[in-house]
């Protein structure tokens, strides 16, 4: 049983790492601020989501799992808001 859980964790962590890698490539390769922002925030959220899902079976106790999910939700909130704010500045700068 532990093998199944460990395999699940490894697969999920690898998926998360892949999305982080994809996001980083997007950040480096995409042509302008808005698309780079898209790559950074969307893909990071997904990557972190996979990592949190992968780590959930490894924590002991309900509280530890809830903390992990809270971290994920807070990062989602922060990165979504930061993306909005930066995007607004980028749009204003492009107009002027």
């Amino acid at each position: 049983m532990t093998h199944v859980i460990d395999t699940f964790t490894i697969v999920m962590l690898c998926a998360g790492a892949f999305f982080f890698l994809a996001g980083t490539v997007g950040l480096l390769r995409f042509p302008d601020s808005l698309t780079r922002l898209h790559a950074l925030t969307k893909v990071d959220n997904l990557g972190l989501g996979f990592i949190v899902v992968g780590l959930l079976p490894q924590v002991d106790g309900l509280i530890g799992g809830l903390k992990l999910i809270l971290v994920w939700l807070l990062v989602q909130l922060a990165s979504a808001m930061a993306a909005q704010l930066i995007a607004r500045v980028a749009r204003v700068e492009r107009r002027s």
Partner: protein, 311 residues
């Protein structure tokens, strides 16, 4: 080679690269962003070294609050930045040589450690149970190094007095010139409505759990400061004038309580900042509560800066 060593090498290389980036960055803003990244990476290093207390402080104070202060300074300097003459070559050279000497000296000390590091850790932890604190860092800060802890809290208040003393005469006691978000009911407003309940709870938790787990007044206070600043920047709450009595009370109440407990130590336990054995934990919690509040308010006011318009 194990994974841990690979991770250590990778993060050390990354830290060095970011440090170089901060030094060679062309604008103050870029350097500040690099500095914040550097602080967060350094926090990861402290976690890897099992120094979670230090990691939390590095992330909250070293990267967060200091980063905010530097961003404010960079914004102020942006107008003058283009006109700054570049420094002369001899000055650059001598600064470089000085830095290399200091780094070399530090490296020499670090790379040749004694075979058995001198440590007081076993003796310190042996008597820790008397304080009722489970977190050895909190125990050392409040039992063995209480004077240092008191002074570092007073230093924060002194820093605020220093910032306030930059106030022009006409604005004295007025409202700090914190840069506010221009658009009402925008993205930031939503964030300032959703995040503070969670952030304030985490701040209080971090102070409370500091007795037995990593955390404490500085980390909790920094979170409270961030939440207050967020609410003020989003215009959900007005920035208070620096002459407000309640505000000044909050700034000083932590050091005041700590000092009172310190002087009471003369009568109750025989020396300054000594705790009577049965009341050590409650007294420390009372001091920590006041200090968390004071640190939160003081850090936020440091970021808000000196008063710029009269109340």
């Amino acid at each position: 080679m194990t994974g841990a060593i690979l991770f250590a090498i990778a993060i050390a290389a990354l830290l060095l690269a970011v440090a170089v980036w901060v030094v060679v960055a062309r604008t103050a803003f870029t350097a500040t962003v690099g500095f914040i990244v550097y602080g967060l990476l350094l926090a990861l290093v402290w976690v890897a070294l099992s120094a979670v207390d230090v990691a939390l402080t590095e992330a909250a104070i070293g990267s967060g609050v200091t980063g905010m202060l530097l961003l404010g300074a960079a914004a102020q300097l942006r107008a003058t930045e283009a006109n700054v003459e570049s420094t002369s070559l001899p000055l650059k050279l001598s600064a470089g040589i000085l830095c290399v000497l200091v780094s070399g000296g530090l490296a020499a000390v670090m790379l040749d450690p004694p075979a058995v590091a001198p440590t007081l850790a076993p003796e310190a932890t042996a008597k820790l149970s008397a304080t009722g604190l489970g977190n050895p860092v909190a125990g050392v800060l409040f039992a063995y190094r209480a004077l240092d802890t008191l002074l570092e809290k007073v230093v924060v208040v002194l820093a605020l007095i220093g910032v306030w003393s930059l106030t022009p005469d006409r604005a004295w006691g007025g409202v700090p010139g914190l840069r506010l978000y221009a658009r009402p009911s925008g993205t930031l407003t939503l964030l300032a409505q959703v995040l503070p309940p969670v952030g304030i709870m985490l701040g209080i938790y971090m102070f409370w759990t500091g007795a037995d787990n990593p955390g404490g007044a500085f980390q909790g206070g920094a979170l409270l400061a961030a939440m207050w600043l967020l609410v003020m920047v989003a215009r959900l709450q007005p920035v208070p004038p620096t002459s407000l009595g309640r505000l000044r009370l909050l700034v000083t109440i932590g050091p005041f309580i700590f000092l009172t407990i310190g002087f009471a130590g003369f009568a109750l336990a025989g020396s300054f900042l000594a705790y009577p054995i049965d009341y050590a934990k409650p007294l420390i919690v009372v001091a920590e509560t006041g200090l968390t509040l004071s640190i939160g308010v003081t850090l936020a006011l440091l970021v808000a800066g000196p008063a710029e318009r009269s109340a």
